[in-house]
């Protein structure tokens, strides 16, 4: 379990990193926290010609509160984000999800950007990105562009990131509604394992207790994490009665096409999806309701 030979370069700035990417293209792998990449290299499942280390680039490590969104630098550690109180207040779903990402030790190294670009269909952060409609800022030597989550995740471990691009930051929309609640849950065999199925929801209530805004999604149910904006729309205007919640959750599960593996069959996943979707919607509702 030793990586195949590779060249190593440590970039001091985003510009420098982009130059290496421009020059070497496909042969480069960016290493951030290394929690996914290094094991794959050790098993020789990935064999980059170049390993581009972005851990020294200070400009990739920040948490900035904008009016409508929170911007997080790609190389910001997951544990830093997890501990940020202000961020937890503005994008609560992010902290709720982070508690499920691996273990405290992996979160001390693992980065926000690494998890997003790794794009495991069972991973928590990509699911939150899709549910909230996060925006990814990709930088190359020529320019920077912003890609919406819907367009960003294109398949299992595949994203819209081009070979000459580095993820610079992720912008997480913050909802302004006062009575907003969110919830994240998942089923995995052991705590800290990748989820068999995960579910995330965020919704807001009006003063009359009716739902005025809703978003939810499922992880592990397809090639990418899935969001269900149209089904979520069915929740808006309701009082989120059990019946409607169950029906929406059921439809979401029915619409997905999950795979089978050692630990979960497609039938089990679909069943879990219905259960978990209903649970997060109800939990988010309860949380929003408590801000009465």
């Amino acid at each position: 379990m030793k990586a195949a030979p590779f060249e190593y370069v440590r970039a001091g700035s985003i510009g420098e990193a982009c130059e290496v990417l421009q020059r070497e293209g496909d042969a480069v792998k960016v290493v951030a926290g290394g929690q996914s990449l290094i094991p794959m290299m050790a098993m020789r499942l990935v064999r980059p010609g170049w390993l581009l280390d972005i851990n020294e680039i200070a400009a990739l490590k920040f948490v900035a509160m904008d009016k409508d969104a929170v911007r997080i630098g790609a190389c910001t550690r997951q544990s830093t984000v997890e501990r940020d109180q202000e961020l937890a207040a503005r994008v609560p779903l992010l902290r709720q999800a982070l508690a499920w990402v691996g273990h405290i030790q992996t979160r001390n190294r693992g980065t926000i950007g690494g998890s997003i670009v790794h794009a495991d269909p069972c991973a928590e952060l990509p699911l939150v990105a899709r549910v909230l409609g996060a925006r990814m800022v990709l930088r190359s030597t020529a320019a920077a562009r912003t890609v919406e989550a819907d367009a960003f995740f294109s398949g299992p471990m595949m994203t819209a990131t081009d070979a000459n691009e580095c993820l610079e930051e992720v912008q997480w929309p913050a909802w302004g509604e006062r009575r907003t609640g969110s919830a994240f849950t998942e089923i995995s065999n052991r705590h800290g394992d990748f989820a068999m199925v995960s579910a995330a929801a965020q919704l807001s209530l009006g003063d009359d207790g009716r739902c005025v805004r809703a978003a939810f999604g499922l992880g592990g149910m397809g090639q990418t994490p899935l969001a269900f904006p149209q089904l979520a729309q069915r929740l808006v205007g309701t009082r989120l009665e059990d019946e409607i919640v169950k029906s929406v959750a059921h439809d979401a599960a029915a619409q997905s096409d999950p795979g089978s593996d050692l630990f979960a069959t497609a039938a089990y996943r679909r069943h879990l999806a219905g259960v978990l979707a209903a649970r997060v919607i109800s939990a988010a509702h309860a949380q929003a309701g408590s801000k009465g």
């Binding site: 089923i187 065999n189 052991r190 705590h191 089990y268 259960v275």
Partner: protein, 795 residues
């Protein structure tokens, strides 16, 4: 209970902890001899194939490569590895020759300057294969006309025999009721953090092979020498290497023969440290993979009259000692119960899977699981309380020594009391209320109880029972104790330790006998050329065997000191009193020779020595296993292990009915292993054993795909429970001393593991009971539980 002891049974700092806790352990990977070269392996991607050709040219040309070894050369120059049963045609070497028999089997070994270079070159070895049929399912492997793993052997069956002990048919005919079911134990193991590692160095002048390895194996130096065609005294195994986890699996014999051969061939030190992938797939360390067809005959009042157990164990593609894991349970085949008629039909079968190795309990935990599932099923069928059923059938404390139908005599026990203590500690009535309230609230909740034995003391009677050509009837161990001129004490043991705390054991025991502070006693590991005979720390035996030997040696020292004093006081030893190492005349406190004075006489003053006593002060003690040495009768009855520890588990679980996710909410283990020499070590063993049992029952499995590939070859798929899955565990001690051992101790190296899977399976089944569902296959994964629940609720 242990107040008559000074050091035994006390909470004292263990000898080993300071070394391990401060990171000063010295493991196989810490052995760094100058000029060491490194091995990487080429593994078969096929479960079964003919090797058409191997081209090593490109690999040999790669940077830093010394050699590429294949099976043709290796198998011609070494001898096959030992087989535990009479199956001489089931030959096994470290490298495949001609055919491969499981995915992951080693086909070639590359030696290079570094492990990374060796791996680079290993990718360049070109092997051409021609696929052959394969068989993964043990029942398919038993069917006639199936693919033969070893055609020369003529069958896939390695061992099969039907034992009948007592009037079985009569019991079944006369009993009020019968039941039958199948219980399946999944292929799991002990999977230590440290994989197997070995370094070997050949000295061509001394003609001596030095070996440093992460080893826990009986007769390892001997088997290494034989396979390498060397005299026994040409192999020196250094037993002072710390072992980073084992519980049976650190056998590494094939690795050692391979590395020994390479070191000799190349004239440089060579080392192989398995990586995780090699360890899981090709390390030959999977555990029992077994199903039981159980039949029980019982009366209306709950009396168990007879039991039939057919056990089929899939040992994978080769046999070492693995078939014998069906043999050890013969020594506790009726569990802690009075069952007078038993039929046992063990079948050991080969498939195209990774070979099996010894795992904690040597086959006893699966057997306990099957027996305990049977007890619960009987209770359920009778509508009887499971605890009452157990109380009714448990051997009573006034019945010891108790002879079971298969020939072993249980030494001692107080099963009813231990069960009661465990129930009390669990707050049983409240636990039942908790369960019933949870059920009313729509949750699936269950309580599991299991009462199981841990046979200990490890003789090897099953070797002769399973193979008449193998007349092994002793499984001795020994200890050397020496007192140097300064009066310091050193204990020498003849084997390695893999986490059992032998240094604490020996120093405590020697300190107890000599009345000297164990903290001042050093304990070292000999190497195999200067070691006294040992059979290594297997079979839960060292507290009994090494502890007994250390005590025996210390007693000889004590007797020598008393003899010296008697000689100098010109009195009889009976007039003397030994206290704290000093010897004085009874009733005359001033008439005393101190420890230092006595030691000085022994080492320097021959003129003050009694005639017949050797100068210097050291003693050795070699001990045969108590009650050991027996030969099986015609119908296969024999005394197995001497001592029997008992454990009673009480577990509370809940299962989320919507997801199948189980969670263990309460865990109590009542435990009686006689006198505990170090209670902290015993408790540590028990905690770990229960965690291991949680893994075997709910999570861990070496799963295979339909095309014969190992599907769980990393820790992403082979699921060892973490601290998040293991609940608080409450251990309740009880002490019924063994009449057979030095201090009344019994073994506890397998404690917890021998009952936890049974208890958890019973708890899960209790939780499923209101649905009318049951599950008897381990591990009970979330998926399996959900499927069981779904099937039941749809009906």
């Amino acid at each position: 209970m242990t107040t008559q002891f000074r050091y035994i049974g006390k909470h004292r700092r263990t000898k080993e902890d300071p070394r391990f806790v401060t990171g000063r352990g010295r493991y196989a990977a810490d052995i760094a001899l100058p000029g060491t070269k490194h091995v990487a392996l080429v593994a078969s991607p096929h479960p079964s194939a003919r090797i058409v050709s191997i081209s090593t040219d490109a690999a040999l040309a790669a940077p830093g490569v010394l050699t590429v070894l294949t099976g043709d050369e290796f198998c011609a120059r070494t001898d096959p590895l030992y087989v535990g049963v009479d199956a001489p045609k089931v030959t096994r070497y470290a490298l495949a020759r001609g055919v491969v028999r499981y995915a992951g089997e080693w086909v070639a070994a590359v030696v290079a300057d570094t492990r990374a270079l060796a791996e680079d070159a290993a990718e360049l070895v070109e092997v051409e294969y021609e696929s052959l049929p394969f068989v993964i399912d043990p029942e398919a492997a038993l069917a006639p006309g199936t693919h033969l793993i070893h055609p020369d052997h003529g069958t896939n069956v390695l061992y099969r025999r039907k034992f009948v002990w007592g009037p079985v048919e009569e019991a079944f005919a006369k009993a009020d009721h019968q039941l039958a079911f199948r219980a399946t134990w999944g292929r799991s193991s002990t999977v230590p953090i440290e994989t197997f590692g070995v370094t070997a160095r050949w000295d061509p002048v001394a003609e001596l092979l030095d070996v440093w390895a992460s080893i826990q194996m009986p007769k390892y130096p001997d088997q290494t020498a034989r396979a390498l065609r060397l005299p026994g005294n040409a192999v020196r195994v250094h037993f002072d290497v710390d072992v980073g986890g084992s519980y049976g699996v650190k056998r590494g014999i094939k690795h050692t023969v391979l590395v020994g051969y390479l070191a000799k061939k190349l004239g440089v030190p060579v080392r192989l440290i398995e990586d995780r992938l090699e360890n899981m797939r090709g390390g030959d360390m999977h555990g029992p993979d077994r199903f039981f067809d159980m039949q029980v005959a019982f009366d209306r009042d709950g009396t168990i009259r007879g039991m039939k157990m057919r056990a089929v164990d899939d040992v994978g593609a080769y046999a070492g000692r693995s078939p014998l894991q069906l043999g050890k349970p013969v020594g506790a085949i009726c569990g802690p119960y009075q069952i007078h008629a038993i039929e046992y039909e063990p079948t050991s079968v080969m498939t195209n899977k990774t070979p099996q190795e010894a795992v904690r309990g040597f086959g006893q935990s699966p057997t306990n699981f099957a027996i305990e599932r049977a007890m619960d099923r009987v209770a359920r069928q009778l509508g009887m309380d499971r605890i009452e059923l157990r109380r009714k059938n448990l051997i009573r404390r006034d019945q010891f020594p108790y002879l079971i139908p298969s020939g072993s005599s249980y030494d001692s026990g107080d099963y009813h009391t231990v069960l009661d203590k465990a129930l009390e500690a669990s707050g049983y009535p409240a636990l039942v209320r908790m369960r019933d309230e949870a059920r009313l609230a729509g949750r699936l909740a269950g309580i599991g109880v299991a009462t199981c034995l841990e046979p200990s003391g490890g003789n090897a009677s099953f070797e002769l029972l399973f193979n008449p050509k193998n007349e092994t009837t002793t499984w001795m161990d020994s200890c050397l104790v020496r007192v140097d001129l300064s009066g310091s004490i050193t204990g020498v043991m003849g084997t390695s330790s893999s986490g059992q705390g032998h240094e604490t054991l020996v120093s405590t025991v020697v300190g107890e006998i000599l009345e000297r502070d164990p903290a001042t006693i050093r304990v070292i590991h000999a190497d195999s050329l200067n070691a006294l005979p040992s059979n290594s720390p297997v079979g839960s035996r060292m507290a009994i065997m090494l502890g007994g030997a250390a005590a025996g040696a210390a007693r000889k020292i004590r007797d020598a000191l008393v003899a010296i004093a008697a000689h100098n006081f010109e009195c009889s030893p009976e007039d003397l009193e030994y206290r704290d190492g000093n010897v004085g005349i009874k009733g005359a406190p001033s008439k005393m020779l101190s420890w230092d004075q006595l030691v000085e006489i022994a080492h320097r003053k021959f003129h003050k020595m009694p005639p017949g006593l050797d100068p210097g002060l050291q003693a050795q003690f070699v001990w045969e296993v108590p009650t050991g040495g027996g030969v099986p009768t015609q119908d296969g009855r024999v005394q197995m292990y001497p001592c029997y520890a008992f454990e009673a588990h009480v577990v509370y679980v809940e299962i989320d009915p919507d997801t199948g996710k189980p969670s263990i909410r309460k865990y109590v283990c009542g435990h009686d292993c006689g006198v505990m020499i170090s209670p902290d070590i015993v408790h540590g063993m028990t905690y770990g054993g229960i965690a291991h049992g949680i893994g075997a029952s709910l999570y861990e499995k070496f799963a295979y795909t339909e095309d014969g590939q190992l599907a769980s070859g990393t820790f992403m798929d082979y699921l060892i429970p973490s601290s998040m899955e293991v609940p608080d565990i409450h251990i309740v001690d009880h002490c019924t001393p063994s009449p057979l051992t030095t201090f009344g101790q019994k073994g506890s190296g397998e404690a917890g593991y021998l009952g936890a899977p049974a208890a958890i399976a019973n708890a899960i089944n209790d939780a499923l009971d209101p649905l009318g569902a049951s599950i008897d296959t381990l591990p009970m994964s979330h998926l399996a539980l959900w499927e069981t629940i779904t099937k039941a609720t749809k009906m």
